[in-house]
């Protein structure tokens, strides 16, 4: 919290908060060590497998997505069930860049067109593919496209005072519509198969330990940066207006704040963060496909935040890591039963732990 907060009466929370802050720092440092441990000899007890590095990198991207959702939902009360769409759009922007980089190494050896365009009979690159051969442009698009979509949908909705579950339903329909649209082969995004078989990024071949470590650190940097940014925002008056909007939207209006502008700001920012997370996610997992737009994905991401504890930022990270780790573990250990465990967890947390795991820790700390 910022210094503007009045000094009196808040002493009780401080030790717990410091412990938490220390824990985050340690966790980030430990994460930063992972790729290094990957280089240890295979027989070392501390060696971390390729799999662990890759899968942790993926979780980091999910954590950024969770952070973005928490900023909008936990602080401004905007529950978007379409954040997966922003994530996927960012991913598609990066995917388009990676496809352009394949160049003549594709199966059909076409110098410009990606394979799927060749066998679907495209003669030339569609206009919206132009420019994606440049990395900065692709990164820019990974932010602009989700941001723009969030702006349009947000502006129309917030202006019409569509709130709460109605907004959730609208955003859910948005991601569903996008999923259907991206499944169409005629859209020029590879249909159901999406983009795969990437070769390189920034001149580095992708399927190497080094590239994976690089991507891992990029994701970690994005996570750290997003966390710092989000914490800063929620510490300013902007953050306090957002909380006010969450708790009593119309009261904020009578104070003279344009609720639409504030909601729009945070929603667009959140979408941009989600887009960046998606952009890093794609080279890490090696595929982007319209399945990422599936409404279930967005709901799951919101559930990570709920599990961790919303409105705390750290809870979002905790939720994203714990739920996904659990999912990775269970889909191998109990392939037939993991849905029960995960579904049961979602039910239990929402009913019995309204403040999530973080709430549990905090009450334990007191």
């Amino acid at each position: 919290m910022s210094a503007t907060t009045a000094p009196a009466g808040t002493t009780r929370g401080i030790p717990a908060r410091q412990i938490l802050r220390g824990a985050i720092l340690i966790a980030i440092l430990l994460l930063a060590l992972l790729p290094l441990l990957n280089h240890l000899p295979a027989d070392s007890a501390f060696r971390v497998s390729d799999f662990t590095v890759a899968v942790t990198g993926k979780w980091i991207c999910y954590a950024v997505l969770a952070l973005a959702i928490d900023l909008a939902w936990g602080y401004a009360g905007i529950l978007s069930l379409g954040h997966g769409a922003f994530f996927a759009l960012g991913g598609y922007a990066m995917g388009m860049h990676l496809m352009r980089l394949i160049g003549p190494r594709g199966v059909y050896g076409h110098p410009v067109l990606p394979d799927f365009m060749v066998f679907l009979g495209y003669r030339e690159l569609p206009w919206y593919w132009l420019g994606f051969d440049h990395f900065p442009y692709a990164i820019l698009m990974a932010m602009v496209v989700p941001g723009l979509l969030a702006f349009v949908v947000g502006y129309l909705s917030f202006r019409s005072r569509i709130t709460g579950v109605y907004f959730s339903i609208i955003t859910q329909a948005m991601t569903y519509a996008l999923m259907l649209a991206f499944f169409r082969n005629d859209m020029g995004f590879g249909g159901n198969n999406g983009f795969t078989d990437f070769k390189q990024l920034l001149g580095v071949p992708l399927n190497t330990q080094g590239a994976r470590a690089g991507l891992f650190y990029a994701a970690l940097a994005l996570l750290a940066g997003s966390l710092v940014l989000c914490r800063h925002i929620v510490g300013t008056k902007l953050g306090r207006v957002l909380v006010a909007v969450r708790d009593a939207e119309s009261r904020v209006r009578f104070l003279g704040y344009s609720v639409t502008a504030f909601k729009l700001t945070v929603f667009v920012l959140s979408a941009v963060l989600a887009g960046l997370a998606g952009a890093l996610y794609v080279p890490l997992v090696g595929i982007i496909n319209p399945g990422e737009f599936a409404p279930g994905n967005s709901i799951e991401a919101v559930i990570w935040v709920a599990v961790g504890g919303r409105g705390t930022l750290i809870g979002a990270l905790l939720g994203a890591f714990s739920v996904n780790a659990l999912k990775t573990w269970l889909t191998s250990v109990a392939p037939d039963l993991w849905l029960f465990v995960l579904g049961g967890l979602f039910v239990a947390v929402t009913v019995f732990l309204p403040r999530g795991l973080i709430g549990l820790f905090r009450s334990a700390a007191k």
Binding site: A8, T236, V243, R251, F254, F262
Partner: protein, 245 residues
């Protein structure tokens, strides 16, 4: 530059065939303190809603100075200098008393300015003064959620003061207050009224008497009677409405 006044002429609001306001006209001069009374369903709250932009009138003119309020949304109207205190005290539970007042403080209201906002010494002083006034200095760091009902009323009045409006709309300010607090509120409102217009909606006739102001009586969405409290109390139409036929 003179302070603006409120001007309502022929205002009607129709919900699904039900006339909440019916051809209501009302003028509040700059600096005036005005009490508005009326039985339940008389249209008091709807009138406030129309002035603050929450409800669009079906017909009629609402002006504040030169500004046409029927074309503006709540935030713009608030920024024109119209503040409102709700019947049910609405403060931001998750924020502290200090933060609640800080949000209300008159300052640029766009997101970017809020992001770059830093609390200056003068602003802090103003907040502290108001906290003093509303008797919440000791609770500055407590979240509003743990305040008592009366304290929440005070906090909301404090927020209204922070807004520094030219017109205050106050809806039942003394509900849940002790007699002493009620007196304190009346005095406060009388004092404020010197520099700005104040419209108070209240049921408590003792409190209205204590305000010592012009009184407007609403009934079924129209103006029934207007004048001093004594004039109004002796108006047979008012007596009929309040005591029934």
């Amino acid at each position: 530059m003179s302070k603006p006044g409120l001007y309502m002429d022929g205002v009607s609001v129709v919900f699904d065939g039900f006339r909440a306001l019916n051809n209501l006209s009302l003028i509040v001069d700059p600096g005036e303190l005005r009490a508005i009374i009326g039985p339940n369903g008389a249209g008091k709250t709807t009138m406030m809603d129309v002035i603050t932009g929450k409800t669009r009138p079906t017909a009629g003119t609402v002006r504040f100075g030169d500004a046409d309020l029927t074309r503006m949304d709540e935030a713009r109207i608030a920024n024109l200098g119209i503040g409102r205190k709700f019947q049910k005290p609405t403060v931001f539970d998750a924020l502290t008393v200090f933060e609640n007042l800080e949000l209300a403080l008159k300052a640029p209201r766009d997101p970017w300015s809020c992001l770059r906002w830093a609390l200056g010494g003068e602003a802090r002083k103003r907040i502290e003064t108001v906290m003093e006034e509303i008797g919440l200095s000791a609770r500055a760091g407590d979240p509003a959620a743990i305040l008592s009902h009366g304290q929440r009323q005070w906090l909301e009045i404090g927020m209204l003061l922070m807004q520094d409006p030219d017109l205050l709309l106050v809806d039942e300010p003394v509900a849940g207050m002790t007699d002493q607090e009620t007196e304190h509120t009346a005095a406060l409102l009388r004092r404020i009224a010197g520099t700005r217009s104040v419209v108070v909606v209240e049921h408590d006739l003792e409190f209205v008497r204590a305000l010592n102001s012009r009184v407007t009586v609403l009934h079924e969405g129209t103006l029934l009677s207007e004048g001093s409290i004594d004039t109004v109390q002796n108006d047979p139409r008012v007596i009929e409405v309040y005591l029934g036929r």
